[in-house]
């Protein structure tokens, strides 16, 4: 009755999640046929999604996490280089957890998108009791509250979410538990071993034991015997049953003995050896299973394989889906790919490497093509501000009126409204639209995807947060002037903090303008967070000059001197990068920079000849930083 009471409170309020509340997409006209997957229907879904993944042209993915960034400056900002953006994404991926993973295999045929959306509910349950996949994870209450508002059922997720292990964790698990029984079907190594006297004695003993056991087994098969007698016989011969087949366990005390027994068993074509793992690693016994014929042996080996697969599925859990996507080699479409794939890499592949280059190559070995719709949107100039999926879809709908029809063939039972994971449909839709506009995908239904892959190639695997379009990557110091975006080397960026109280960017700019001649040129001032600003010197060399003035304590410049005495500090972009490299994730950027400067004073000056990358400076994009 207690149970009942608690379950009563559990019911998800369904009123607020009616689809008509969501505007901006033609998706809202029909039912959200997104299949919700938990532990209970995972096995059946896996088969289903497998066919869809292999039959579709693209796979859209979208993750729902327990948090993203702890303070405003820790999110990927427009002035971040790829390296810095990766370090930020890495920090988030290591702390937060994925609770929903939406996967949508889809194809684009003329003006139709055929989509098969699935939303998997995940929970890092420690199925193997080994502190894996995750000892603990962070949550941001705002994220949880937002999910709750969408009607997300946390109880279902925690009680019935699918667990998983990353590839690296699976290896570690194998290492630690030894091979669990069904998986350990093994073939002996081919190299013949040199026997010592003790070895041959051991082998002889085992051989005779096996022979006796085999004989008793075969004898008993012929005669119909009394139950009691057959049981006794079994006890005497040490025989057991493995499934329906007789088996014999041989205790072992070294790996050498394992080798010897396996070699001995090669003589017997009807025996299949299995390793029984010991608790502390290694094996403690070999179980020999007797098959009745060659056919039976094959059948048995197949059975073993199946068992192994089943066990693997239990261990890998949701990762099976990630592996399926990986083996399918289909292009994977995501929104804000660097964030999403940092999570995917850290949860399902391996711990994140320390540099973006390693990350990129590690990721490319798993997913050959990753396409960021965000990046594609930037290809269409005016869209580059739109960072929100429904808004982007609406925009495209207004500008490019070619109709695109979404078709979701799968049928969902029950009348529950299934909105969770709908972003993955938005991503599919947006991608399909963008492909039409950018002519990535052949418009005729006959042409297959392979012809278009080369076009897509140049959009794939770009992780630059400032979204330098691929063609511009070659140029170094060119101003791209689509709207207000301009390219600038990070050498011209200076971080400023320690100004009095709260100040708006505008106020700060006017204050700076009057203080020193370096500010007389064209500058831009934006707030990176509440008490740290970033200053862009459009004239080259001025940033350096300003830093020199700051380092000298403002000699010959009274206004700067005053500001320094009030606490003004400045740092170059390299310090900012170092903050991220050293993981100084202080809540306030000013504190973090300060710490990085302290640490730096202990170290010899890094090679300052290092080539500095450029970023895109977009005036509009930064204005909203003021609202922080």
């Amino acid at each position: 009755m207690l149970l009942q009471r608690r379950l009563l409170c559990t019911q998800v309020p369904k009123r607020s999640i009616h689809p008509t509340h969501h505007q901006n997409s033609n998706l809202n006209n029909k039912k959200w046929a997104i299949k919700q997957v938990t532990k209970s229907n995972f096995a059946e879904t896996l088969e289903e999604i497998k066919t869809h993944i292999f039959n579709s042209d693209f796979i859209a993915v979208s993750l729902q996490k327990t948090g993203a960034f702890s303070s405003p400056w820790q999110k990927v900002l427009p002035f971040d280089t790829a390296e810095v953006a990766y370090l930020k994404a890495k920090y988030a991926a290591e702390r937060f957890q994925v609770l929903q993973f939406a996967v949508c295999p889809f194809s684009v045929k003329s003006s139709k998108i055929i989509a098969h959306p699935y939303n998997f509910h995940l929970f890092p349950r420690d199925e193997l009791k080994m502190g894996m996949p995750s000892y603990s994870f962070f949550c941001q209450s705002s994220y949880l509250t937002a999910m709750a508002q969408e009607g997300f059922d946390f109880n279902a997720c925690i009680y019935d979410g699918i667990s998983y292990l990353s590839r690296a964790q699976e290896l570690a698990a194998k290492d630690r538990t030894g091979n669990p029984l069904p998986r350990s079907y093994m073939k002996p190594s081919q190299s013949p071993t040199v026997y010592s006297v003790a070895d041959s004695m051991f082998v002889d003993r085992i051989k005779s034991r096996i022979k006796i056991w085999k004989r008793t087994c075969q004898d008993s098969e012929k005669k119909t015997e009394d139950d009691l007698i057959s049981t006794l016989r079994k006890i005497v011969s040490g025989g057991e049953v493995f499934g329906s087949r007789p088996s014999l366990s041989i205790d072992i005390c070294s790996e050498r003995q394992v080798q010897l027994i396996l070699e001995t068993l090669q003589e017997f074509t009807d025996l299949v050896p299995l390793l029984v793992p010991a608790k502390v690693g290694g094996s403690q016994a070999i179980r020999v299973v007797l098959t009745s014929s060659k056919e039976d042996r094959n059948v048995f080996e197949k059975e073993l394989q199946l068992m192994e697969e089943e066990h693997n599925m239990q261990v890998r859990g949701f990762r099976e889906v990630v592996d399926l996507i990986s083996t399918s080699q289909k292009p994977v479409v995501a929104h804000n790919a660097i964030n999403e794939f940092a999570f995917i890499h850290s949860k399902f592949i391996a711990p994140l490497p320390s540099t973006v280059d390693e990350f990129r190559s590690s990721l490319c070995s798993v997913f050959s093509h990753i396409v960021d719709v965000n990046h594609l949107m930037r290809e269409i100039g005016p869209l580059n501000k739109v960072n929100n999926l429904p808004a982007a879809i609406l925009y495209l709908k207004r500008r490019f009126t070619r109709p695109l029809h979404m078709e979701i063939p799968q049928h969902i039972d029950g009348d529950e409204v299934r909105v969770h994971g709908r972003d993955v449909l938005r991503i599919s839709e947006l991608f399909a639209k963008l492909c039409l506009i950018l002519r990535i995908v052949p418009e005729s239904p006959e042409a297959d995807y392979s012809t278009s892959s080369s076009t897509l190639e140049c959009y794939a695997n770009v992780f630059n947060p400032c979204f330098i379009s691929s063609s511009d990557l070659l140029d170094d110091d060119v101003n791209i002037s689509t709207e207000k975006t301009r390219r600038i080397s990070v050498a011209n960026l200076v971080f400023l903090w320690g100004f009095r109280g709260m100040m708006s960017a505008r106020k700060l700019k006017s204050l700076l303008k009057g203080s020193h001649e370096v500010f007389s040129g064209e500058i831009d001032v934006r707030l990176a967070d509440r008490n740290c600003a970033i200053v862009v010197f459009w004239a080259p060399g001025f940033a350096e000059r300003f830093l020199k003035v700051m380092n000298s304590g403002g000699t010959n410049c009274e206004p700067i001197k005053d500001m320094i005495s009030e606490g003004l500090r400045a740092a170059c972009y390299r310090t900012y990068k170092r903050v991220c490299e050293l993981s100084i994730w202080e809540p306030s950027l000013a504190d973090a920079l300060e710490k990085a400067l302290e640490e730096a004073s202990d170290l010899p000056e890094a090679n300052s000849e290092e080539e500095l990358p450029a970023i895109c400076w977009d005036n509009d994009e930064l204005t909203n930083l003021d609202d922080l």
Binding site: M1, L2, L3, R5, R6, L7, C9, T10, V12, P13, T66, G67, S70, S71, P72, Q97, P124, R125, D126, K129, G131, S134, Y135, S136, F137, F138, C139, Q140, S141, S142, L144, T145, M147, A148, D153, F154, N155, I158, Y159, K279, V280, G501, M502, S504, A505, R506, K507, S583, P587, T623, D626, D627
Partner: protein, 736 residues
Amino acid sequence: MNSSSKFYGTKIPVVRMLVVMKNLFTIRAFHKSLISLSSSTRHFCCSSSSSASTFAIKNVTKSNFESALNDLRLYVKDADFVAVDLEMTGVTSAPWRESFELDRFDIQYLKVKDSAEKFAAVQFGVCPFRWEPHRQSFVAHPHNFYIFPRQEIKGDDTSYEFLCQTTSINFLAKYQFDFNLCIREGVSYLSRSQEKEALGRLNARYKDRLLDSSSCWREGVDTKLVRVADILFSERLKNKIAEWHDGLLGDRNGASQTWKTSNDSKQQLKTIFFKMRPALDLTGFTSHQLRLIQLVVKNHFEDLVYACVAGESSSQQLIVYADSASDRDLLMKELKDCLCKEAEMKIKAAIGFRHVIDLLSSEKKLIVGHNSFLDIAHIYRKFIGPLPSTAKECVISIQKFFPYIVDTKVLLNASTVCQKILKKSSTSLSKAFALLCPQIASGVKTSGLADKRLVKVEVQVDNKRSLNWNSGAKHEAGYDAFMTGCVFAQACSHLGVDFTLNPSSVDLSHHEKLQEYINLLYLSWINGDIIDLKTGERKTDSICSKGFKAHHSKILFSNTVLLWGFPAKLKASEIRECFCKVFGSSSITFIYHLDKTAVFIQFSKEELVSDFLVLKETLERSNDPISVLHPLSKVLQGGRTRAASYEVYKQICSSTISKVFFADQAEAVGIEWNAKLSKPVLEVERQVDFEASENQLDTDARNETEIVSGIDPPLYMHSPTDELDSLCPAEAQMSK
């Protein structure tokens, strides 16, 4: 959360302690029997409707918080004591952050502090108990508050971020914790320091702002009119406002001109009065349009003020007419005060659940908990402010808010009478409850003499009352608090507190029979270390050490070295072997795994600590054959092996970072490759129970922990001063 939950839910999966208390073992064994017991209880409740009443506990969420709080005020005011209990999202942020035998007093506090800082409290049980003389029974009012750190006001975002320990979440799930209810409907809260900070920020903002700050927009509003639509819109609105403005002036001048508007704009622009001034109420505009209107007002009308004030449900946008410059200033001031007051109200409203804590604090009631130091630390961190850096500062500060705290775990372990009843079995909450209060726990009516000593507890929830209430919802904070209170009342009775004698209620806070137990808490149950809240010191003449005796050994922190980052899979026995080759076979007292990446090594002599650190450094610096062949090279292989004195362990524990493995943690904290030998502070030798180590070698622990005891039997003869003889059984078991 009671102790059994702490053990059962989170400690067991990663048992890694040098010595797992005998109690732990029994708790676990007992827990199984408890589960069956509780299920039979539930069964019993269902089948016999007469004996046990089973109305639900009072669950409190956002929707009924206000009324529940008002009721609670009365209950707490009349109460003789208030039992509390918390459920958290986790206990340890990393395996090596669990309690170890080797944790010094200060480190025990650091571990509790880390836990209270990282995890969230999701359920808060409050149960006031009042003695009713005419009924000769206690009346309990169990409340089960769902709380959630939802961010209601702007501020420091990091305090709305919390850690979840996977095993703890699973543990809560096992007991049907309703996460949906907690996240959707949980009562939010604001600590005292958060409130102060928010009010400070508010004051700064309103003081700083110049008079033109009445607008709710930020200063960077000079949106340039680029789009044709914007220009047209602005122009139209300018005319409309001018019309209205002229209309007002016209009225003043006595002309009977009325302001004519078309129907649709009448809905959008309505003339109202704001603070005795005529005003236009703007409704149905988009935020972009409102920004344009603001611009129009600012640029074209000197005597009009654009204002954004809080209405009943949403904020209201107004254009207010001020007839002179001084009136305009006055209006600005009024608006400012209005905004300020409104923001203040918002902050006050965000206090939420802290009202309950403030209530407990202001009533100065006796607070009863079970193994409650962690609970109290959570209460401090969540509702008062950041935890001080030392245990002493912390408890002295706690005393200011809660002058009387009593812990049933301390009471049960200290009182011989209770120990007799518990038959020296565990003092876990549910166990103690079942044995001390059988009439409540199982609804069984005992008769005759035995019954006389049993304190009657009547439960009241709303208007329902019952003498043998049992919701059976173990590990639900409200029910756990109720059990704690019942155990306390019964323990008091066993200690000789006679409730029946007094005509009115008993002053338990000052009762002579309880004085020696009040304000004592286990800082760490594993170590049996008790902290005296009045002094902030470790209680040395421990009244409660009864459970912790037998063979004692000394842990000499100054003799201890921390070693980490050595080659993986290197066993403690192998490490020990290497060290013995260098420093002599009796040089190592014990080696103890923190986790698979780190060990503590205790040397027999203090000098050996520095000897080792110096030797390590020389070996690493030189690359000659001697250093390669040196016995220690096996440990130093890989070049990532670090060593440091015990003080560095403290530094690492005090860091806010929590990496799963100790070696990663140490690296992240930034301990240099070879940590400098800081002068170890000589700590009073601590007595530790090693006897229980025999129990430790259950299967879980065997995989995780490797124990190498100090002395090989023959050497033991040569070192009679060593008291580590009791470790020998452990070794014997290990070598099996």
